[in-house]
């Protein structure tokens, strides 16, 4: 039984906030570059969850309006725009991750490590 103040959308926002903090923590605190990259992905997912939470309504359905509909009630459908925006954001996130992985492969080939402190030592040599 969930407490009353925790309705479904509040849970989603808390989830987004938690993911955001995990992502930020990971980027700052982890010393392995691949883990930093994964934390960056978690941060991006947090934003996506936040936008999707914005579009939800209780009791609403998918925003597909029948062709013969006459009286359209906006409250009966979830808002499709945040989903469309987040599709774009996912594409951005995938592209950024692709570039980042390519960079990591090059760094690893040249310096033999992805650990930040070991990498800094190699760079000083």
């Amino acid at each position: 039984m969930m407490p009353e103040f925790l309705d479904a959308s509040t849970v989603q926002y808390l989830q987004a906030a938690a993911l955001l903090l995990i992502g930020l923590y990971g980027i700052v605190a982890r010393s392995h570059l691949l883990r930093k990259l994964m934390a960056m992905n978690i941060l991006q997912v947090a934003v996506i969850v936040f936008f999707i939470a914005l579009s939800t309504k209780s009791g609403a359905t998918v925003p597909v309006v029948p062709a013969d509909a006459v009286d359209i009630d906006p409250a009966a459908y979830v808002n499709p725009l945040p989903h469309a925006l987040m599709l774009t954001a996912i594409v951005v996130s995938v592209s950024t991750t692709g570039v980042a992985l390519a960079l990591l492969i090059r760094i690893r080939r040249r310096y033999g490590t992805l650990n930040e402190s070991a990498l800094l030592d190699r760079l000083r040599e």
Partner: protein
């Protein structure tokens, strides 16, 4: 055709970016010529559009993308501000692309098409940020330009890959902050169109959610603009990148983010108390940047790093000017956006060229190079004098407006920072100029005079000449362009 000019500014480089890599597989020379042609066409489109906007009385040209009316559709907005910025971006893009010609001839021919493609994507992204009237569209262009920039910056070698990865992490956090901030404003108003949003936000009640949204957007864009203390990614990223890329990225990219910050804070959120608080924060951040950037630049022994830290300080000038909010200070800041792009572009192009030709990039290593590369050194000297702010170069006038604005606002800390940083920049630039022109041992025979190839020299010299001309003819630029780029709440 001419009614589609605003969208052509973005579509031309974007579509060329997809043609060029295919062409590059057959002939790298043709790929580069198409790149130059596309950038020249973009510059023409931007200039014609700006001229048309300046002729109209209200000075706004709205273009509905695909015929969808805003706020549902995306609109591109050309006004004296975005028009001027797009001419600046397109002009510097063309200059750096011409400069890239001789540099690319020494590179692997298979890669020229790819390099040009990424470069065109970067230019398209930056121009998109400038002309769009939609907050989410701005995010998409911000990331298009950023991803292209990551790929380009990392081509400078192994150290560049490490520096770029750091930039990528920081840049993505910044973009995520910006996107989250948009989410807050969208939840409050149900719109993403800038003009519509400003009307609806003004009508809505003040709330914590607005403040959080504004705060996130400001932090996101401030990181992208390398505003102190969010500048950590900049020096390494600029130092190790290949010369044509640094020349363009250092000149334009942070300025475009500063433009976005100005656009959002004054044109979209102009009436919000949260925006006023953000400007106070940015004002102090700007002053700190001026002091820290100039001080750190003084400590560098590598010319490229010195220029990078000087950029941190110069971004401080711009942000400080915006934060003061008076017409004269904003005109100064906008003028400095223009000047700094030209000066820093020129300085990085010459420094990169010198390193490309001689392998030297340290201040000490510049000794006597003025005799070997006299014209390059002259371009460097002109731009450096303008950075220090000596009349009649353009740098003097933008600093003068900023200083007048600071006096008017009685921001004495800012006045002290502006004056002090000018002294510091005089020290670190004249240190380099002294090496360039008088540092050589006079007893050794003069080295063979061998300046940069024409393709590299011409863009750098052209930028230096524009800096001088802008200084001599600053009055028409200020009255016909910059004063018309003030937000409605200020002018």
């Amino acid at each position: 055709m001419s009614e589609h000019l605003p969208v052509l500014i973005v579509v031309v480089p974007l579509s060329a970016a997809f043609v060029v890599p295919l062409l590059g597989r057959r002939s790298s020379g043709a790929a580069h010529i198409v790149t130059l042609g596309a950038l020249a066409a973009t510059l023409v489109a931007a200039s014609v559009a700006l001229a048309r906007v300046l002729r109209t009385a209200d000075g706004v040209w709205r273009y509905e993308l695909g015929g969808w009316a805003p706020p549902w559709g995306i609109e591109y907005v050309l006004d004296p501000l975005s028009g001027g910025m797009s001419v600046l971006v397109a002009g510097l893009a063309l200059a750096a692309a011409i400069y890239a010609g001789p540099y690319l001839r020494t590179a692997d021919p298979d890669r020229i098409g790819l390099f040009d493609s990424l470069y065109l994507l970067l230019v398209a992204g930056l121009l998109g940020i400038v002309v769009t009237g939609d907050l989410f569209n701005l995010y998409v262009f911000l990331e298009i330009s950023a991803i292209a920039a990551y790929a380009l910056l990392s081509t400078g070698g192994d150290r560049a890959a490490v520096a770029t990865f750091r930039y990528l992490l920081v840049g993505t956090v910044a973009a995520s902050c910006y996107l989250l901030g948009i989410g807050y404003l969208y939840a409050l108003t149900g719109t993403l169109n800038m003009a519509d949003l400003s009307v609806r936000l003004a009508a809505a009640d003040e709330s914590t959610a607005t403040a959080v949204g504004v705060g996130l957007i400001v932090i996101g864009l401030a990181i992208k603009a390398a505003v102190f203390p969010f500048h950590g990614w900049l020096p390494d990223a600029y130092t190790y990148a290949p010369p044509p890329v640094t020349g363009f990225v250092a000149a334009v990219m942070t300025k475009v983010s500063a433009y976005a910050l100005y656009r959002v804070l004054y044109f979209v959120l102009g009436a919000e108390p949260a925006a006023a608080s953000a400007l106070v924060f940015l004002g102090w951040a700007g002053v700190a940047a001026i002091v820290a950037g100039s001080w750190l630049a003084l400590a560098q022994s590598d010319v490229r790093r010195m220029l990078a830290y000087s950029s941190v300080g110069q971004m401080g000038y711009i942000i400080f000017g915006f934060s003061l909010g008076s017409p004269i200070a904003i005109v100064g800041a906008l003028f400095h956006v223009l000047n700094h792009a030209l000066m820093k572009g020129c300085l990085f192009l010459v420094t990169g060229g010198i390193r490309w030709r001689t392998g030297v990039s340290s201040v000490a290593g510049f000794a006597g190079l003025g005799r070997r590369l006299p014209l390059s050194a002259t371009a460097f000297a002109l731009a450096a004098v303008s950075m220090v702010g000596l009349p009649p170069t353009a740098g003097f006038f933008s600093k003068w407006y900023l200083l007048l604005g600071a006096f008017e606002a009685e921001a004495w800390v800012g006045v002290a920072a502006l004056v002090g940083s000018s002294w510091l920049s005089a020290i670190y630039f004249f240190r380099v100029l002294e090496r360039l022109f008088v540092g050589a041992d006079e007893t050794t025979p003069a080295p063979e005079r061998r300046d940069l190839p024409f393709g590299m020299l011409a863009p750098a010299l052209a930028l230096a000449v524009v800096v001088l001309l802008l200084g001599l003819f600053h009055q028409p630029v200020v009255t016909h362009l910059l004063e018309r780029a003030l937000p409605p709440t200020v002018s």
